[in-house]
C-alpha cells in the first residue's frame, strides 16, 4: 500500500507541472477579463519550440526559455485581437489552437521530415540527499526542476494577486474595468500583461512536456492537456491555489490510472481507465452545475472593454 502511495505521489509530481503551469496561465488571463481557450495551442507551441531550441543549442534550459517565448507570441496574438480589436475571445482562442495544431505539424515535417523530433537533452532531476531511505518522503526525490517550479508558481501568483497593488488592479480590471479605468488604471495595459503572462506559463507548461516529461516533441502533444488545465482553472474557481489543487488532483487521478494498471492489473475491470480520464471534466461540470460547491467567473471575463460604454 505504501509503495502504491509513493508511486502515485511520485508520478503526480512528474505529470502535474504541465497542467499546473497552463492552468495558472488560464487563471491569470481570465482574472484580468480575457477568456483563454487557446491554452492548448500555446502549450503546443511551447512544447515544439522548446524541443527545437534544445536540439539546436543542446541546453534544455534555453529550450524552456524558447518554449515560454513561443507561448508568449501566441498569447500576444490572442491579446492583440481581443484587446486592441475587441475580437471574440472564444473564437480567437479556438483559432489559435487550430493554427498551432496545423502550423506545428507543418514545421515539424518541414524541419525534421517526420512527425516527431529527435531525442533531446532534458531538464535535470533534483535528487534530495538523505530522503532516499525515508518512507513516503523518498517519493519527493529525483524529480525534474519543473516539479518544484510548478509548486512555487501558484504561491507566487497567489501573493501577487492578493497581496500587491498590481494584483488588486488585475482583480479590479477583471471584475469591472470601467471602475478601474476611472481611477487611472490602464485596462489594456493590465490585460496585455496578464495575457502575456498566461502565454509564458502555458508555453513553459508545454515545454515541460518535451524537454522534461519526455525527451522529444511528438505530434500528439499536448494531447488535450490544455483543456484539462482549463477544467482545473474552473474547478479551482479561478484562483491560483485552487487551480493548483485541482491540477494536482487531476494529475493524481492520471497517476492512479497508470500505477494501478501496472501494480494491480485486475483493477482495470472495476474502474475502467476511461472513468479516471473523464473524471476531471465530470467533476468540473458538476461544480458548475452547482452540485458540488459553487464557482463564479470574474464578472468581466470575456467582455471586451470599450472605454465609451459606461
Amino acid at each position: 500500500m505504501l509503495e502504491l502511495i509513493e508511486a502515485i505521489l511520485a508520478s503526480t509530481l512528474d505529470f502535474a507541472p504541465s497542467i499546473v503551469l497552463a492552468a495558472l496561465g488560464g487563471v491569470i488571463s481570465e482574472r484580468s477579463g480575457v477568456v483563454n481557450l487557446g491554452l492548448e495551442g500555446m502549450m503546443r507551441l511551447g512544447a515544439f519550440f522548446a524541443a527545437a531550441a534544445t536540439l539546436a543549442t543542446g541546453s534544455p534550459w534555453i529550450g524552456l526559455g524558447a518554449g515560454m517565448l513561443a507561448g508568449a507570441v501566441g498569447a500576444l496574438l490572442h491579446g492583440w485581437l481581443c484587446i486592441r480589436w475587441r475580437s471574440d475571445q472564444v473564437v480567437s482562442g479556438i483559432a489559435l489552437n487550430l493554427v498551432a495544431l496545423g502550423g506545428v505539424t507543418f514545421l515539424v515535417e518541414a524541419l525534421y521530415g517526420s512527425t516527431d523530433t529527435e531525442r533531446t537533452a532534458t531538464i535535470g532531476k533534483l535528487v534530495l540527499p538523505g530522503l532516499d531511505s525515508v518512507p513516503l518522503l523518498r517519493a519527493l526525490s529525483g524529480h525534474s526542476w519543473l516539479a518544484w517550479i510548478a509548486l512555487a508558481a501558484p504561491i507566487v501568483m497567489h501573493l501577487v494577486l492578493y497581496r500587491t497593488a498590481l494584483g488588486l488592479r488585475v482583480l479590479a480590471v477583471g471584475e469591472k474595468p470601467q471602475a478601474a479605468a476611472t481611477l487611472g488604471v490602464s485596462v489594456a495595459g493590465i490585460r496585455y500583461g496578464c495575457v502575456l503572462a498566461s502565454g509564458l506559463l502555458a508555453g513553459l507548461g508545454g515545454a515541460s512536456l518535451s524537454v522534461s516529461t519526455l525527451d522529444q516533441f511528438n505530434n500528439h502533444m499536448p494531447a488535450g492537456q490544455g483543456f484539462i488545465a482549463l477544467a482545473a482553472m474552473v474547478f479551482g474557481k479561478w484562483t491560483p491555489l485552487g487551480a493548483f489543487g485541482a491540477s494536482a488532483f487531476f494529475a493524481a487521478a492520471n497517476a492512479l490510472r497508470i500505477s494501478l494498471a501496472s501494480s494491480i492489473p485486475w483493477i482495470k475491470d472495476v474502474i475502467p481507465s476511461g472513468f479516471l480520464l473523464a473524471l476531471p471534466y465530470l467533476l468540473t461540470l458538476l461544480l458548475l452545475a452547482g452540485f458540488v460547491g459553487k464557482a463564479r467567473a470574474p464578472a468581466a471575463d470575456g467582455v471586451p472593454y470599450d472605454p465609451e460604454v459606461r
Binding site: V35, L37, L81, W85, R86, S87, D88, Q89, V90, V91, S92, I94, A95, L96, N97, L98, V99, L101, G102, G103, T105, F106, V108, E109, A110, G113, T115, G224, F227, I228, L230, A231, V234, P272, S273, G274, F275, L277, A278, P280, Y281, L282, T284, L285, L288, A289, G290, A297, A299, A300, D301, G302, V303, P304
Partner: protein, 365 residues
Amino acid sequence: MADLGLRQKLFGPSRHWLLVPVLSVLAALAICFVAIWLTGKDPVQGYAKMFGGGLGSLRALGDTSLKTSILTLTGLSVALAFSVGLFNIGAEGQLVVGALVAAWLGHAFAPGTALIHIPIILIAAALAGAGWASIAAWLKVRRGVHEVISTIMLNWIAIHLVESWLVVGPLAARSTQSQVSLPGTAQIEATAELPRLMGEINLGLPLALGMAVALFVLLKWTTAGFELRAIGASSEAARASGIDVARRTYLAMALAGACAGLAGAILILGVHRQYPAIFHGGYGFDGIAISLIGGNHPLGALLAAAFFGIIRAGGTKLQLLQIHRTFPELIQGLALLLVAAQMITRHLLTKVAGRAPQGKEAIDA
C-alpha cells in the same frame, strides 16, 4: 464567463456577410503559399496537387464528398446553436456519441435490409447526438452554466468514456473463439453500409446537402425558425414577446446535436465500418471553423465545407512534396483566425475604400 454579446454584433445579418469570409480564406491561402515557399518547396505545384487531389478523379471526388458531408454537418451543428446565440463547442462530443451508437446498431441489430437498417441507425445516431447536446442545453437553461465551458467538458467526457472504456471494454469486438477483445467495435453488417452513388460518392453528401437546405428553410421560413432567430437577436425581447426561450433553446441544441450525431454515423457507416480503436476525431472542432467561415449561415457553412472538403481530400497528395497531409487544416485554422480578426479586415477595407460595407457600424459596435 459573461455573456458574449459581441458575437451577435459580429455575426449578425449583413448584406456583405460573404466578403469577410472570402477575403479571410484568400489571405489564409496566400500565407500558406508563402510558408511552403519558405521551406524551399514549390507552392504552385503544391496547390495544384491539393486542389487536383480533391477534384481530379472520381475517387478523389468520393473522398471530397465524404469530407464535405462531415464538415457540413458539424458546421451546421455549430451554426444552428449560433442561431439562438449559443456557442456549441460540443459538436465533437456529439459526433463521438452518434458514431458509437451507429457502430453498435450496425452490428447488434440486423433487420436484413438496408432500407430499414440505415434509416434506423441514422435516426438513432441523430437522437444520441441530440441527447448529448441537450445536457448542455439543460445546464444552460436550468443551472445557468455557460455553454462554452459545458460543451468543452462534455466533449472530453464523451471521448474518454467512449474511447477508453466502451470501445475497448463492454462494446469491444470479441474474436469468435476466445474471450480476447479486439481493438474497436465489431464490424457493422453489410446492410448498414452506406451505398455509394456511381461507386464512389458517399450517400452522406446528399444527406448533408438536404440538412443544410432544410435548416435554411427552417430558419428563414418557419415560425419556429423565426423564434430561434429572435432569441439569438435578443433573448430578453424574445421572452417578453411570449416566446418560450427554454423550449426553443432545447430545440436548437437538440438539432445541433442531431447534425453532429449524423456526421458521426456517416463516418462509421461510410468509412470505418466499426468504431475503431484509434478514431481520427477533430471534425467536431472543424465545425466551429466551418460555421464561422460560412458566416453562421446554413448555406454559408455548406459552401465553406465544400471548399475545405476539396482541399482536405487533396491534402494526401501533398505528401508527395513532403508536406504533411493535414496542411489544409492549417489553412482552415488561419482562415478562422482571420475571421476572428475581422475587425482588422473591416478597418483596412475602410481605409482602402473610404468606407467599408457595414464597416462603421461594426467598428463602432
